[in-house]
Amino acid sequence: MSIYRHKCHAIPELNTASLPDLIFTILFFFMLVTNMRKVTVKVKYQVPQGKELTRLTKKSTNSYIYIGKPTAADGSVISNNTQIQLNDKLVNIDEVTKYMVEERKTMSAEDRKQMVVSIRADKSTPMGTITDVKQALRKANALNINLAATNQRN
């Protein structure tokens, strides 16, 4: 004799109909925040740390200059000479001006005014290289620059 009635103990099925929706939401979030890398970086660089940083907003107006030590395909550093990378190739300092002028031509008229060149340079780069790059940018009339850095934690 038992007090409890014995029901049929079938485990109720969990309704997973909304699971795809949840996943899609997360997916869309990641799709929005992600920025696909267009170029393969061929130099190794570590940007300096700072506190007073501003964010680069518009992607279409930005162009990047990478300065660091050249690396092989597997990521190992080949030499200690500082190299400048524009788009996909390593260039000399005298080519920077020409390239920046080309880059300006590809932009739309509105973007051209707000063009920002982000210099992503390694910490240990000698200032001479940076100065030369700045001069080249002045010649190309790309006057807004941004010295890339990461936030300092303390």
Binding site: I23, L53, I130, N141, N146
Partner: protein, 179 residues
């Protein structure tokens, strides 16, 4: 009469949608790089095509000369300065001199970029602190909370006047102002 057939709409099996979206999610998770593009904004002086550039007369009292030596020491007005003191020094300097001040930065070609960046960072910190103080006095709120028009007013009051001396490889020096 025709016998109506009862038609049940067959249910679409959607149990695999979750798997598909999971795959996409993982793809984006792996490829995403969360590093924000952050940095210090600077403006370069335009190149003057005209050859005869007349140096504008500047009161020597209004200039703070910062230079970075080849062995990464920061020298301000002939004194070697510790990195932490720059902000205070610049803050007091700008506050005392007002709109007419000029900060001059000269870096040796062999100095490291890091030192230069830290110097820039400290000077901007000083500017930001001063602008914040100004906006608190005028508008009663921090610089970050000000509207764009208010920020423009503050920027007019506390302009960033940084000039950089470019040491060229041919030993010829060129002077240029930023912002």
């Amino acid at each position: 009469m025709f016998k109506r057939e009862r038609r049940d709409i067959p249910k679409l099996n959607t149990s695999s949608t979750a798997d598909i979206s999971f795959m996409l999610l993982i793809l984006f998770l792996v490829t995403t790089s969360m590093d924000m593009n952050k940095g210090v904004d600077r403006q370069l002086p335009p190149i003057d095509k005209t050859e005869d550039q007349r140096p504008t007369p500047i009161n020597a009292r209004m200039v703070m000369k910062c230079s970075i030596t080849a062995d990464n020491k920061i020298v301000i007005d002939d004194k070697t300065i510790d990195k932490k003191q720059i902000k205070n020094l610049a803050f007091n300097f700008i506050k005392a001199r007002g709109k007419e001040h000029i900060i001059q930065i000269q870096a040796d070609r062999k100095a490291s970029y890091d030192t230069y960046f830290q110097l820039q960072n400290q000077i901007i910190a000083a500017y930001n602190a001063l602008r914040n103080e100004h906006s608190l006095a005028t508008f009663g709120k921090g610089y970050d909370l000000c509207s764009n028009e208010q920020k423009a007013v503050i920027n007019e009051e506390v302009p960033q006047r940084i000039s950089e001396v470019y040491t060229m490889s041919t030993e010829a020096t060129q002077k240029g102002g930023a912002e």
